[in-house]
Structure formats: C-alpha cells, structure tokens
Symmetry: C2
Subunit: 333 residues, 2 copies
C-alpha cells in the first residue's frame, strides 16, 4: 500500500508537502502540486480515510437506520438522502433494524463507533432513553416517520391521513367498518392512523367495532393474509377495511381474492404509504400517499444543518408532511 510517505520519499520532499498538495492547498507551488499529483496517480495512491478522519475528527458520513430493506417504502427515502448529502460532500451508510430494539441499539452503537457525522433513523420507540443520551452526547440526530419528544422529527400527519380514509369510505357508501393493523406495541404511526379513521366514523354516527379490527402481529404482506383468513371466517363482515400500510393491504386483498372475494364489490380496501409498484398490482390500492422523497430531503437537510452549525436554538417541533389520498380500484376508484 502506498502512503504519502512513499510519495514524499520518492520526491525528496516532506510528507506535509505531499499532504498539502493532495488537498489542493494554496500554499504549495503549482510545480510541486503537479509533481505530487502525477506521482500519486502513477503509484495509484489511495488516501486512507481512517487516518484522515481520525486526525480531522470527522468522517463526513451519515448513518441511516431503516426498519427493513424488504419494505419498498424506503427506496425513495434512501434516494433522497443520497441525493442531498452527496451533493454536499457526505456519504451515507444504511443499516436495518428489523424493528428489533437489540438490532437498533447495535447499529446505532456501530454508527457511533465509526464516528459518523450524524444519524437519520426510524426508531422502534420501544425504548428511547438511549436515543436521548446519544443526542445529548452531541450526535446530530433526525427521527423520521415517528415523533419523539425532544428530538428533531420529520413525519407525516398520520391522523389526518386516517381521516382521509374515513371520509372516503363514508363517501363511497361504506356501512360496516373494519381495519387491519400490525398491532405492534410501539407502532405509533399505526395508532394515529387508526385514531383519525375512527374519529371520522364516530363523527358520522358509525363505529369501528373491536371485532373488526384485525390485529395480525405482522407488518408485511403476511399480516394482511392472516387478517384475510379471519375476515373470511366471519358471519357478518365489514364492507370497508382500512389497512394501516400498503403491504398489509396487498396481502389482505391477495388472500381474499384467492378465496373468490370481489374487491371492491364485496369489500372496499384502503392502504397507506403509496409504496412503489402499487400501480402494477392485481388490485391497485386506494392509499394515502406519503411524500417519501420529500421526507428524505427534509431529513437530510435538517441533519446537515445540525452538523454544520450546531445552533441550539432550533425549534424541536416535529415537522408534519401533508398526506394525500389516492383513490384507486380497491375502493371503487
């Protein structure tokens, strides 16, 4: 491996000069500059970022902790973050927590040990003390998709999104309302979506009976399929079902259709998130669109701001993005 010392030796100059030349410092002669660059190129010199970052005490790397790669939701968010930070000379490191608190802690610790300049994350919320600690220790932190008191958060207005579904179902003639939820204990976005939905039903003199809230324990398509199995066993079935994510909706509808149920004729279905590939599905789902790219942009910009000028008088109020209802075939669109 060739180092600046090798270059210095061959050129008969000091490592300092080489270092300066390599960084394009104004303090070296153009001639020296050229000779160093040339030899560096010729020797295929590769700067050691570990050494550089160690002395500079900054890595210009930001960590992004997502829930799982298997969720297409994160694709546009990743893209946005990469676009923003790369333009500003940073790079991104992505890891997944699988919604497990142990994995979450492990990854965050790893980010910290790697001395990342800042972190964007979707926390499980099962335990947030160590997040507060991390932040207090000076690590710039932006929470995405959830709201965590005391931390910078960018999310969507889930309650309003729930309202949109409720109003939509009421408008399209729904009479008996149900829901499919993962039921994970710390899934606050889910609870908010349901509460918005429920509030609308109540306001219209309807209700969301407990027996029609299918709690599946799973967040992927499998969860939706489990819910469908329960729906099929019912004597009296809801005719409008809000699944709190598109993935739940996809699994739910798939299992129903396999059992011969007509959608939306027998039951109207709506999801949430508007994940990629929705338009190609067997039943394109009515959904509440999450401005995913924008989410990533805002999170990245906010984080870079925190990194580059640690101004303590920034508002910590959560930023809530606007949901948007997209009506598709699953609810008669």
């Amino acid at each position: 491996m060739t180092t600046i010392r090798d270059i210095a030796l061959q050129l008969g100059v000091s490592p300092s000069t080489v270092s300066r030349a390599l960084q394009g410092s104004k303090e070296v002669s153009p001639e020296m500059q050229r000779r160093v660059q040339e030899l560096a190129h010729q020797l295929n010199y590769t700067p050691n970022l570990l050494a550089r970052s160690l002395v500079k005490a900054r890595t210009d790397t930001i960590g992004f902790l997502i829930l799982e790669f298997a969720n297409p939701f994160f694709i546009p968010v990743i893209q946005a973050i990469e676009d923003v930070v790369q333009a500003r000379g940073y790079s991104v490191m992505i890891s997944q927590s699988h919604r497990q608190i142990e994995d979450e802690k492990r990854v965050l610790k790893h980010f910290e040990m790697l001395q990342v300049s800042g972190i964007i994350l979707i926390p499980t919320l099962e335990e947030t003390d160590y997040l507060a600690d991390l932040s207090k220790r000076g690590m710039p932190l932006v929470v995405v998709g959830r709201t965590t008191p005391g931390l910078a958060c960018i999310s969507i207005d889930n309650i309003k999104g729930g309202h949109m579904v409720g109003r939509h179902f009421l408008g399209t003639g729904g009479k008996k309302f149900g829901a499919v939820i993962s039921g994970e204990p710390f899934n606050t976005p889910e609870s908010e979506r349901i509460s918005g939905y429920q509030a609308d039903l109540k306001a219209a003199g309807r209700s969301l009976p407990e027996k029609w809230v299918f709690k599946t324990g799973r967040s992927g398509t499998t969860g939706g399929e489990l819910a469908a199995a329960r729906w099929l066993k019912l004597d009296e079935r809801p005719d409008a079902v809000f699944c709190t994510t598109d993935r739940l909706a996809i699994g739910f509808m798939h299992a129903l259709r396999r059992a011969g149920v007509e959608i939306p004729a027998e039951v109207a279905v709506a999801g949430f998130d508007d994940i990629p590939f929705s338009e190609y599905l067997e039943v394109p789902p009515t959904t509440v669109a999450y401005p995913k790219y924008q989410l990533g942009v805002l999170a990245a910009e906010r984080l870079l701001q925190m990194i580059e000028d640690p101004d303590p008088d920034l508002s910590m109020d959560p930023v809530l993005l606007e949901p948007q209802l997209i009506v598709r075939k699953s609810s008669g669109g």
Copy 2:
C-alpha cells in the same frame, strides 16, 4: 468524548491495561477487568473504530455495490450477505452505482479509501481494467450476477434460463416469438438469456426476428412500457414475448392491459429473476427464478474465505447457479 486514556487516568493504570481489559484479554486480572468494564460503562465509553482499524489494519467491513436500490432483486441478496457476514463478525456497507461507470468507480474508490476488508459487486462491465487492478492490489473481490474473467464470480446459468423460456413458449403453442430487452451495451446476462432463448427457437425451426426484439434502452418498468407502445403499433404481432427481466415484463404487461390486450390470450409473456411481490401483480409473471438468497450466501462465503485465508490456488471458474422455471398466469399457467 471519553477515551481509554480517560479511563486509565481515573483508574490509575496504563492505557494498555484498559485496552486489554476492554478486549477481554486473558492477561489482565479479573479484578482489573471488572473495574475497567464498569467505569467504561459508566462513562459511556465508545471505542473509536477509526483508531482501532487504523492500527489493526483491518476494518472487518465488507462493501457491497449494487446496481440500484430501486430493484427489489437485491433485497434477498442483501439479506443473505448480512446474515452470513454478521455471523462472522463483519458488517456490510451498501452503495449503488445506478449502472453508471462513474458512480461505480467512485463507490469502489470510496470503499478502498475506507479500507474495507473485501468487496462484492455487480459491475457494469463497461470497463473492467480497474477491477482487475483493484484485485491485483490485494483487494478481495467477488463479482455477482455477471462473469468477469480472472475474478471470482457467482452468477446464474443465463443461457439455460433462456432455454427454459424458449422451450416453455414452444410447448404452450407459441408461433411468433418476440423479446423485450434493455439493450444496454454491456448487459451480458441479458445477451445470454436471449441467446439461450433464440437457440431453442432455432432448434425448433422457428426464429426471433429482429423487428420483434424490442430494445428499450431502459431497464426498469418504464422500459417495458416503451416496448408495449411499439408492440401495439405493429400490424403483425408476436404471440409470445420474453422480457429479460421481471421489471421489463411488469411494465410491458401493464401497458398492454391498459390498452385492452388480453394476457396470455393474445400474447404470452415471461420474465426473469422472480423478484419479490410478483405473486401480487395484476398478471403474475411466468419467470425464471434466480436463487437470490443463495447467490448472496455463496458470494459472502467466498469473499470471507478470500479475506481470511488468501489462498491463491482457488479456482477462478465462475460458479453458475441453477435457474428454475416458474409458470404463472402470464403464459397461461
């Protein structure tokens, strides 16, 4: 930030002792061990991986360069690689090239500067000299999904996969054969798939006329949609179309259906890869399944082997995984 020096000072011992205690070295007294661990925990000590890696001259991090996050193909591969390497104490860093040679080079250079222990990648193949250089310079390298002479490669038997589609179409009564390809210049898997397909047609006295090979210039669903537009304009249309990837097939079928074309009645379609979510699509695509998880496992194991015992007498013959035909509705399944 607290360092081992701080701990050493407070305990009245030397940094070496702290270092040893933290690593659980057998050479420190249990008593010392305990005291160090305790204080470290209490001070919320976080080891600086940059410093550690710098002196150890190893990061135990492996870089994985994919084409794009937007392609669900990579999800199981990522999962496999993470599973394998994490179990062996390594971590993974993932970046995307967007199929651009400049991005590919930039990412690989970055991996190298970060001193990753090894790299798994899907190269664009537009230029492979610098890959050979990188390997020659001692960087363990495993190529995935393509075959590159002189490098360790794990891929699928694309030709055989193409055969499977050809045979299938012939068996289901296809008469006029077409194809949808991205047509990207260095996309060798695509060429191989087509050549296998074509060979089968020829052997059966059929052909794949140039005019029915839709070259779209795009690799995503958009490519398929562009191809569909051209299919629709034809006077005489092929009744069996092989799309070299599922994403092309999805876009192709979607655009056709929107134009009222019946699949598979008017045209049978097949894809390749068997990406996640296929079973939920409007027309579940007949496809050639790529053992994606296995691909990741083999690549990771091979790389770790190269890293941990740099044995030069390992065969560099490409490992070709077995494709498997999955017949679904798009071809009448």
